[in-house]
């Protein structure tokens, strides 16, 4: 089931995966991703989102089932063979959750050069791409800096630049806005929006529901049992509070407004808005009726 009906980029068929000597972290997952889609994988911590991205990038391989890229099943042998292996690595970029793991070269320039040099591209072409990518992401002044000395936002942009320099047609993003300040977050979202406008397929793993409308046109929800439970639009998924509660993406807890104490399901970082009438799902209570903890 692909979202836009275009060319199928990834096809995941009944894929299961478990880390050695551990319980399964993905069970019978099936879906397809079409060219140019913006797909979000959402689920609680440990639901298998990051593992699924690793499977899509051919870094892990399913214990059962299969993952295919443009019709070619991803296997160690296929990824080590030319021309498919190098083409896949250039075509599919993976933005890791931890930028420190992704940035392993002594300078930002070396970081950007790493991928193209591995592809065996000519030096002048590599230098041209580095210059263009640094300009595009407005990080030219960081060129000679050591990645370890950068801020979290800068690291994320450099990590993204190290992928874009290869001109990928698919980006796999693992919690791309995690740990970023609001300005860096919105800058990154703008960049991703621009990339999608250029036809790049975006597959994002996140548990931040507030980002869904900005990041995706289609959402896959993974349960805490590591199964795919919903495949829908952001609007449909966000409206289905029953499912979101069941997969631990929203929570219900009591809170107080003056003398009114009530509970209802919601997900927020700092604040949220809601009515105070007797809406379905709102349990009301007067403060006087509720036993307060003794101080």
């Amino acid at each position: 089931m692909s979202g836009t009906g275009g060319e199928t980029v990834f096809a995941v068929a009944d894929a299961s995966f478990a880390y050695p000597a551990q319980t399964p972290c993905l069970e019978g997952v099936s879906f397809a991703v079409a060219r140019g889609e913006r797909l979000a994988l959402v689920g609680a911590n440990g639901s298998g989102k990051s593992t699924l991205l690793h499977l899509l990038d051919g870094l892990y391989f399913p214990a059962s089932g299969s993952v295919s890229y443009l019709g070619q099943p991803l296997s160690e042998a296929a990824l080590e063979a030319a021309p498919f292996g190098p083409r896949f690595r250039a075509d599919v970029g993976f933005l890791f959750q931890n930028s420190d793991a992704q940035l392993f070269c002594p300078t930002v320039e070396d970081e950007l050069a790493f991928g193209p040099l591995q592809m065996g591209w000519r030096q002048d072409e590599v230098e041209r791409r580095i210059a263009d990518t640094l300009t595009m992401l407005e990080i030219g002044k960081l060129r000679d800096r050591a990645p370890a000395s950068l801020s979290a936002g800068e690291k994320k942009r450099v990590a993204l630049a190290s992928l874009l320099v290869l001109a990928p047609s698919v980006l796999l993003l693992d919690e791309p806005t995690g740990g970023l300040d609001p300005r860096s977050q919105s800058l990154l979202l703008e960049i991703l929006d621009g990339l999608h406008g250029r036809g790049i397929t975006l597959i994002t793993a996140t548990h931040d529901l507030t980002l869904l409308p900005h990041l995706a046109d289609r959402v896959l929800v993974l349960s805490e049992e590591h199964r795919l439970v919903v495949d829908g639009t952001p609007e449909n998924v966000l409206a289905d509070t029953g499912v979101l509660l069941a997969v631990n993406l929203i929570h219900a807890h009591a809170h107080r407004h003056g003398r009114l104490v009530h509970s209802h399901p919601h997900q927020h970082v700092v604040a949220h808005e809601h009515a105070h009438d007797d809406e379905p799902g709102h349990g009301h209570d007067r403060l006087g009726d509720r036993k307060e903890p003794e101080r």
Partner: protein, 310 residues
């Protein structure tokens, strides 16, 4: 909401703590650990040296590797203290000419002195290296300890001191030459140089990953140390401090293994095939012939002088 436990509420005053025995301050130990960490960081990677210019900076890494290996082999063949001293002086001179920062040279020589002294201390004693006693350090007075017979005295010997000095000079010369290589070249250049000199890919790949992981290991150790300091109020005693250090080492290795796995995956994800490639590969020039020839001549001269002096 689950009510807060009483002790977590504002204004809660804990009871008086049990009186603690006064213990020795661990501040010197912590300072020493911090200094060791700083030295290690500097040895692994010091970008301040990368931006400098100087002799050897522009030489092809293959030439520098060849020259370095020739001189290190020569240092291992030397026996005379005078020629070993000369070799060390040459190495320090090369480091200075390569504009390696003096503090970095001092750190390497200091580490070499400390480790060699630690390892070679027993070799200076007459129980290991017989010879004319120079300084008596203990008087066990003969007798026996279980199945072992004890000597009447334990003394440092002249021959023992010579053995230790020889080892110290040789180690210091070799380590300083290695520093010259590391400080005047970027890691990738040296690794590609090794490949160009015919070192097998698997070996160079292990070195590449080691170079990457050292930085990761150091960062993890620093974070753990800071987290520990953030929760430290007073001394907890040497035994508990030792227990913490042992647990800390285990935690650092667990964390670095996870991070190292992620680094490997990130490299593979960007097409890493095991070959290190450079954006601007160096070219072999006249300077490089000069470097290799000078190193070969110096090595031959040192060995010849050593044999002659011996």
């Amino acid at each position: 909401m689950t009510p807060l436990p009483e002790w977590l509420r504002p204004g809660f005053a804990p009871g008086a703590a049990a009186p603690r025995r006064r213990r020795g301050s661990l501040r010197p130990l912590r300072r020493a650990l911090a200094a060791l960490e700083a030295v290690l960081s500097m040895l692994v990677s010091d970008s301040r040296d990368d931006r400098r210019t100087g002799l050897l900076r522009n030489a092809d890494p293959r030439a520098k590797l060849l020259a370095g290996v020739v001189l290190i082999v020569a240092a291992t063949l030397l026996h005379g203290l005078a020629t070993l001293g000369l070799c060390l002086a040459l190495a320090v001179g090369l480091a200075a000419a390569g504009r390696v920062r003096p503090v970095r040279i001092a750190a390497v020589l200091g580490a070499s002195l400390a480790l060699t002294t630690l390892v070679m201390a027993p070799a200076t004693l007459d129980v290991v290296t017989p010879g004319a006693p120079v300084l008596t350090v203990a008087r066990p007075g003969g007798g026996s300890l279980g199945p072992f017979r004890l000597p009447a005295t334990v003394a440092v010997t002249g021959a023992g001191l010579a053995v230790a000095a020889r080892m110290l000079l040789r180690t210091s010369a070799c380590v300083t030459l290695a520093l010259v290589l590391a400080a005047t070249s970027r890691p990738q250049e040296l690794l590609t140089g090794l490949r160009a000199l015919g070192v097998p890919q698997a070996f160079v790949m292990v070195l590449t990953m080691t170079e990457r992981y050292l930085a990761v290991l150091l960062r993890a150790a620093q974070e753990l140390h800071l987290a520990r300091l953030a929760r430290s109020i007073g001394g907890i005693g040497v035994r508990r401090e030792e227990a913490w250090a042992a647990a800390g080492i285990g935690a650092v290795f667990r964390r670095t293994r996870t991070l190292a796995d992620a680094v490997t995956l990130a490299m593979i994800a960007r097409g890493f095939t095991g070959e290190v490639r450079l954006l601007r590969p160096p070219r072999w020039r006249r300077l490089d012939w000069l470097v290799v020839t000078a190193a070969a001549l110096a090595a031959v001269a040192l060995v010849a002088a050593d044999r002659g002096l011996a």
